[in-house]
Every structure is written in structure tokens, then in C-alpha cells.
Amino acid sequence: MSWWLAASVLFGALGMLFALGLPAAFAFFGINIVGAWFYLGEEAGLVQLIRNGIVSITSFALTPIPFFILMGEVLFHTGVAMKAIDAIDRMIWKVPGRLSVVAVVAGTVFSAISGSTIATTALLGSLLLPQMLARGYHPSMAMGPIMAIGGVDMLIPPSALTVLLGSLAGISISQLLIAGIVPGVLLSAAFVAYIVLRTSLDPASITILDDVSQTIKSSPPGSVIVMFRVSSKSWATSASQNSRVFC
């Protein structure tokens, strides 16, 4: 079987399994089973698949992944994260598209706190998105920055994905983590510039009167709920990231 045929069959099958709603880890297991059967020699290949899977995650280089997530959890549960958002919210004023800018800056700060991209996105999404929509922000201007910040979180350490990449590619993980800082900051600066430019040139993209004096109200019960939601999500992330490593 030529390589392009094998690649398209395996990636096609992976896409199909994802579309069916099979959990991501199992979709990867599925194509690994097919690959092992054809390329590693049928039944012996399947035994080898399990052996390789376990041996490949029995690696000290991967231990930062659960630790980074644990670190994020500690900061979210102690309430430091909420205080950080609050501080950033008070710091930024008189900027066009203020809440979008707050989302980008808060997301960048969180990137340095949490190793889990999904946890950061979920926290910002549940806290800032309803407020932006309620104040009449265009959905793309409200959701865009929150989703885009996931890309910054992947670059700025701690980052579980960077550890995974470094370990798979055999690159120095510490150097890779350090190397992510400048591109991450550049990326978020570019996001802020785009938001400010876009809203100054085309104020219709945000259809509101951005009330400067109004800061985010994060009453204690609300923040507790947000934190619990984030914690359950990041738990899921941690486990599935681990399961993905398994492949």
C-alpha cells in the first residue's frame, strides 16, 4: 500500500470516528488498531500496540503534563485566577472593544498560569462571553478573542501540548517552552491591535456603548460555579490528553 493511500485511509477513518462522536482517545485507538493490524503483523501487531502504548507514556518527560494542569487547578481553586481577571478588567479602560481586549489580555495572563488550553478558554468563555453578548458585542467579536487565546495558551509556558510535542519530536522541552513566550506575546499583541483597529475603523462590528465605569461583577457564588465548571473540564482534558499520548 502506498504511503498516500495509507495516510488518507487512516486520517479519513479518524475523521469519520470523530464525526460519529466517539471520544477522541478511542478514535485514535481505533485507527491505531487498524494500523497495527496491517503494518505490525496482525495479532502480534495488536499485542505490540499495547506494549508500545504503555512504554511510550512511561516517560519522565511527560510528567509535567499532569503537573501543569494541577498547577492551574490550584490557582483557579484558590481564587487567584478570578482576582487576576478582575485586576485586568480594572486596568483596561477607554479602549475600543474593551471587553474583547480584556479577554485577550486576561487569556495571555492565564496562559502563564494554566497548562490546559481548554481550561483557560472555558474560564474566559463562561465569565466574559455572557457579558459581551449582553452588552451587544457582535458574536464574532465576542467569541473570536476567547477562542484565539487558546492558540496563545499553547505557546506560553506552562503548556501541556508543548511538552507532548517536545517529547514526541525529541526536542529539548525546556528550550521549546522558553521559545514559546515571545511568539505567544506577539500573537496576543497582534490580537489586541486587530481588535482596536477593527473597532475604530468599523464601530458597527461592536454595536454598543462600552460603559467604561462598569467593571465585571464577579459575586462569590458566581465565581465558585465558574471554578467548578472549569475544574471538571480540565480534569477531562488532562485524562484525554494522557489517553492521547497513549496512542
Binding site: L22, I33, P66, S243
Partner: protein, 162 residues
């Protein structure tokens, strides 16, 4: 049923405690090393072995709570009936995947135990210990896929994970 849930919860707790203990041990190792008191070589090795163990222990509990990461973009855009059919296909495939891991995982454990292979690093352990949890945890995952397949109403399927 209650006992079964207890098993899932106990394994998730075990995974959490294991990761917590490893976090403390690695920190201790860093402190000891920086104080020039030598190194605790076994800590690195125990933390390596605990990564697959924690992953395997927590997977069935996550499946029970429907918290494994999955794409539902297609499922949510389809009519209810069609989405349900697709989900059932996914459950059957998941069950088959788990069955493969249970069968070949057991074979791997038995073969390795029969040959008496050892893994010798700082610690020397029988090789089959590394793989022993694979058939056990994938059996629990298979039960979970079966449970989803047989569940009649949506709420049961979407349990706590929504």
C-alpha cells in the same frame, strides 16, 4: 450497581492520590538534589510508571461521567433520531475497540508472566506489572460503552458530563 460505581470512584481517587503523591515526591527530589544530598532515583522511575497507571485508572470513571473529550459538532446539527443512530454506532465501535484491548492485553500479560520477563532500571519489576491494568480498565470501559448502548433515555447517557 452501587458497588460498581464505588469501584469506578475508588479507581479515580487512587489515580488522583497517585498524581498528588508524585507531585510531592518530585518536589522533594528537586529539593534534595539542590541541597546536594544526592538524588532519589526511584522517584523518577515511580513517577514514570504512575503515568499510564493514573491514565488507565481514571479513564472508566471519566467515561461514566461522559467527560472524555469528543466532537459533537455533527451530532448536534443532525436531527435527534439520526444523531442517536450515529451515537449507537460510536458505542458499538468503542465496545469493539475495548474488546481488542482486553483480549490482546490479557494475552500480553499472560505471555509476559509466563516468560518471567523483568524490567531492570533502578528498580527491578516483573514486566507484566506494567500491563496488568490494561485488561482490567478496558473491561470497565467496555461495560461503560455497553451501558451507553443499552441506555434508553438521553439524560442517562448524558449524565454528569453535560
Amino acid at each position: 450497581m452501587k458497588a460498581y460505581r464505588l469501584v469506578l470512584q475508588a479507581s479515580a481517587w487512587a489515580a488522583a492520590l497517585l498524581l498528588g503523591a508524585i507531585a510531592l515526591l518530585v518536589t522533594l527530589d528537586v529539593v534534595v538534589r539542590n541541597l546536594g544530598l544526592g538524588t532519589l532515583a526511584w522517584v523518577l522511575e515511580v513517577s514514570e510508571y504512575s503515568l499510564p497507571v493514573a491514565t488507565l485508572l481514571v479513564a472508566p470513571w471519566l467515561m461514566h461521567r461522559n467527560q472524555h473529550v469528543r466532537l459533537d459538532a455533527l451530532l448536534t446539527s443532525l436531527p435527534r433520531g439520526a444523531a442517536r443512530t450515529l451515537e449507537r454506532c460510536a458505542d458499538v465501535l468503542g465496545l469493539a475497540i475495548c474488546a481488542v484491548f482486553v483480549v490482546y492485553g490479557s494475552r500480553l500479560v499472560l505471555d509476559s508472566a509466563r516468560l518471567g520477563s523483568m524490567v531492570v532500571k533502578t528498580l527491578a519489576i516483573p514486566e507484566w506489572w506494567q500491563y496488568a491494568l490494561v485488561p482490567v480498565c478496558f473491561s470497565l470501559l467496555a461495560i461503560e460503552f455497553l451501558r451507553r448502548l443499552l441506555a434508553r433515555d438521553e439524560p442517562a447517557r448524558r449524565a454528569a458530563g453535560a
